[in-house]
């Protein structure tokens, strides 16, 4: 594949000052301040700065959980407690009678945080996020109770001394640089994850979970990795915290800290690294200058949290997002370019087919599908029509693995397709779109489309974390592919625009572009023409037809009879979950029952 005559222009919008702020300069400035602070030789500033670094080490990881994945981890202070006590107790020889080397104890604290990050996160893998909020809250309560009660190890209410780190990070400025370096490291790895396909997948889980699944994103696996990382960073932060405090008691770990971490992230804005970092620093430093208010600080944090949630749920970053305030061109036209499809979809594969045989599915007493046979062949557009409630979307959900039918078989080229694993469909290169477009509103159109190609990357989570070559390679290829897909559907000029600013019809085409990222062998379209103008429907029809001619099998669920009869090779008509008629468009058009029951006239 050569790009010598690339017709794709990379639309580059001039970044606003916030766009530049997100760039590296602000990090360099922050880093310089941090590096040079010891020149002031003021140990008071030093301690405040160390606390800010330590809080940020925890918050950096928590940011991936809260800001990116949208999981409400309100009790993450427990990881700080856990890491602090593990490090302190091991270093002091309170466990097994051997005094651990402080650095080893710190690593153990991080490991402890990582393990419990996953344990506490387990409910988040399957359940609504409220349960996760509750488990983190419960865990924070229990860790404090255990810290009070387990006197042999934690010293109970009396407490235990924190570890003293040895050269080169001995107490004083040595330890300062230790915290600084680890904070920089935490920033770097979480920023790497945030800007990788894993970061986009997390945001997709947050805002468009169903679309994430359809793109092949396995939520449990990804969240476990993130909980490991966030728990580990929390544990490390705890170990450092115990050393900074030099003596820890359960009182040192108040729930107020959890609220502080949380607000820092919320103020900074979801899906940003710099915002939460600044938020954490400000919230750590602020109370130092408002001594009379210290008593009321928890109250004020809580009040601030309430205000943010009620007034600016998007955080300050949203308020300052001037780039996306610029008006878009008013009369935009979507002009797909089907001729680019061969480069998006790659070489034609072997002919294949998805076969549904005798599928039946009941919801309570309602027979949603009642003995359906259907075959989707590569290179063909198969129309699925029928009145509302006839089982069209249900059929589509069975094929994409959301529903397990009561009876019947679903096979791809003779092999069974598994049920209950919608995220596994992407591996079979079965892509889909949704009746209501599912999108990440806060992300750019380009990022939304790139989500569709998540499974195409080769680099592992760790490779992305450390910004290794395969990660860069993945990013480059995904971006090129996404731009091609956008050019194909006619949206390349909007690549940098926030997706929630698009018109409804544009979102429909964006979903097709996202589906194309899988190089799908089969594509399931759920009412793609709903809400489109007549001209847009015509263009959509030409695009769908062209997709099928590249070898992709298309299942088209639609109400627009004209579109169906224009582009379909075969049509199945459903009524009450059963096949009313099946055949070529010409046969269906003249089918007596169909005409009287559905087409009318």
């Amino acid at each position: 594949m050569t790009d010598a005559t690339s017709p794709i222009s990379t639309a580059k919008a001039p970044a606003g000052w916030l766009g530049r702020l997100e760039g590296s300069w602000s990090w360099i400035a922050l880093g310089l301040v941090g590096l040079l602070l010891p020149l002031l030789d003021d140990s008071y500033f030093g301690v405040i700065a160390q606390r800010a670094y330590i809080y940020w080490i925890l918050s950096a990881g928590l940011n991936l959980v809260v800001g990116y994945a949208g999981q409400i981890a309100i009790g993450w202070v427990a990881m700080l407690t856990l890491g602090a006590y593990t490090t302190a107790a091991l270093a002091a020889g309170r466990v097994g009678g051997v005094e651990w080397h402080p650095y080893l104890a710190l690593i153990a604290g991080g490991a402890m945080g990582a393990v419990f990050g996953v344990i506490v996160g387990l409910p988040a893998l399957r359940l609504r996020t409220f349960y996760f909020a509750m488990t983190t809250l419960g865990f924070a309560t229990i860790v404090t109770q255990v810290a009070l009660a387990w006197k042999d190890v934690t010293g109970g209410g009396v407490g235990t001394p924190g570890p003293v780190f040895l050269w080169p990070f001995e107490p004083g400025w040595g330890f300062y640089y230790f915290c600084f370096l680890l904070a920089a490291l935490a920033t770097w790895i979480t920023a790497n994850i945030g800007s990788s396909r894993y970061g986009r997948a997390l945001v997709a889980i947050r805002d468009a979970e169903v679309a994430a699944e359809a793109s092949g994103i396995a939520k449990p696996k990804l969240l476990i990795l993130v909980f490991l990382l966030a728990g580990g960073l929390g544990g490390i932060a705890g170990g450092l915290f115990s050393s900074l405090q030099s003596y820890i008691t359960p009182d040192a770990f108040t729930f107020e800290m959890s609220v502080l971490f949380f607000i820092g992230i919320l103020i900074g804005g979801r899906g940003s690294i710099l915002g939460p970092a600044l938020g954490t620093i400000i919230l750590t430093v602020l109370p130092e200058f408002a001594a009379p208010l210290v008593q009321w600080s928890t109250f004020l944090y809580a009040a601030l949290l309430l205000v943010i949630v009620l007034v600016i749920p998007g955080g300050i970053a949203d308020l300052l997002d001037y780039k996306n305030r610029r008006p878009l061109e008013q009369h935009r036209e979507i002009v797909p370019r089907p001729e680019l499809l061969s480069r998006v979809l790659g070489a034609k594969g072997e002919p294949s087919a998805i076969r549904l045989a005798n599928i039946a599915l009941h919801f309570g007493g309602v027979r949603a599908i009642d003995g359906l046979d259907l075959e989707i062949r590569s290179g063909e557009v198969h129309g699925l029509i029928g009145p509302n409630g006839s089982g069209k979307t249900t059929t589509l959900n069975v094929i994409s693995g959301y529903y397990r039918p009561k009876t019947g078989s679903l096979k791809l080229d003779g092999a069974d397709l598994p049920f209950d694993k919608p995220h596994a469909r992407a591996g079979y290169r079965i892509a889909r779109t949704f009746q209501t477009p599912r999108l990440v509103g806060a992300a750019s159109v380009l990022a939304n489309v790139m989500i569709g190609g998540t499974v195409r990357g080769d680099g592992t989570f760790v490779e992305s974390m450390l910004s290794l070559p395969r990660h860069h390679n993945d990013e480059k290829q995904l971006k090129v592919a996404a731009l091609k897909a956008l050019a194909t559907v006619g949206l390349e000029s909007l690549a940098d625009v926030r997706a929630d600013r698009l018109q409804h019809s544009e979102l429909r085409f964006m979903e097709i572009a996202r589906a194309l990222m899988l190089r799908p062998a089969f594509m399931l379209l759920d009412e793609p023409a709903a809400g489109l103008s007549a001209e847009e429907i015509r263009r959509l029809g030409a695009l769908i037809k062209a997709i099928s001619r590249e070898g992709t099998g298309v299942l088209l669920v639609e109400h627009h009879a004209d579109l169906i009869f224009d582009i379909c090779d075969r049509v199945t008509v459903l009524n009450l979950g059963k096949t009313l008629a099946a055949g070529t468009p010409a046969e269906i058009r003249s089918h007596r029952e169909v005409v009287s029951a559905y087409l009318g006239a």
């Binding site: 409910p123 488990t135 809250l137 309560t141 928890t298 009040a303 949630v309």
Partner: protein, 289 residues
């Protein structure tokens, strides 16, 4: 020992059950789990001790005032922290808004009441030699409160028209609205009832749990465990789950120590969530595509 395990277990369990019911009543009306449940429990104890011990009121008047305060707080919760975020319920912002409100109240308590646990007065004057004092009132008060609450709610929901309206809202708020039911008023009423149940738990349980600001976090969690065990929205489930939790916790406390009890409860909670997220008695919900 068995006697104290059972009696304390049932008493603590009754408090947990009542907090669980508080969660449920708010949840049924709004699909929102509000973190103010534990706050209400904490306040029941603190306000009771404040009115009786500090202000010298008699127990009945104090009780009524505490109930009124609970109802008012319930209404404030609804207006301030629930209604504004109901539109975006999928984002679960209510977790944060209700938690923030609860923390604000908790902090006010911490500042003006103090962070030390303070004793709660004996409510019912009973001659220590009479037959009635065989079982301590700190044991039977919460159990009685739990029985009264569950019977009262059953009567309300099953026997009265307004109770059926509550059920209709809980079952399908959209359809209920279409039938002309005043959803907002019913929701406010539910939050007021929940507020009263929450402070009732704290008030009757405070001879055991003391008037202590830290009860908020403990009740928030241990009061939710029965909901997870018994299924969301199921009050009977919450009672069974609450009593089971109380008994288990006390038994573990006496037999193997507090550390194990806390850890075991947490472990059971996570395992139940993972294996039976709809609760041990609940039915699975359909997924949304």
């Amino acid at each position: 020992m068995l006697q104290s395990i059972v009696s304390y277990g049932l008493a603590v369990g009754a408090v947990y059950a009542l907090i669980g019911i508080t969660y449920n009543v708010m949840f049924s009306a709004s699909r929102v789990f509000s973190f103010t449940a534990g706050m209400l429990g904490m306040l029941g104890g603190v306000l009771g001790a404040l009115f009786i011990n500090k202000l010298g009121m008699n127990a009945v008047l104090a009780f009524l005032l505490v109930l009124a305060a609970g109802a008012v707080l319930g209404v404030i919760t609804e207006i301030l922290t629930v209604r504004p975020v109901l539109k975006s319920i999928e984002q679960h912002l209510y977790v944060l808004s209700t938690l923030a409100f609860a923390l604000m109240i908790q902090q006010v308590v911490a500042i003006y009441w103090g962070t030390e646990a303070q004793p709660f007065p004996v409510l019912v004057p009973i001659d220590p030699n009479s037959a009635l004092s065989i079982i301590d009132q700190k044991i039977w008060l919460p159990v009685l409160a739990c029985i009264v609450t569950i019977v009262g709610l059953e009567l309300l929901y099953r026997r009265t028209l307004i109770g059926r309206a509550f059920l209709a809202i809980a079952e399908d708020s959209y359809a209920a609205r279409a039938l002309g039911l005043p959803e907002t008023q019913l929701r406010i009423a539910s939050y007021a009832i929940a507020g009263m149940i929450g402070v009732l738990a704290g008030f009757t349980g405070a001879q055991m749990l003391l008037a202590y600001f830290g009860n908020q976090a403990i009740l928030n969690f241990y009061g939710f465990v029965p909901v997870a065990l018994g299924g969301m929205g199921s009050n009977r489930g919450a009672v069974v789950g609450g009593l089971a939790l109380g008994l288990f916790q006390q038994a573990a406390n006496f037999l193997v120590g507090g550390i194990f009890a806390s850890v075991a409860v947490f472990a059971v909670f996570i395992v139940v969530l993972l294996l039976r997220p709809e609760g041990l008695a609940g039915a699975a919900a359909a997924r949304r595509v």
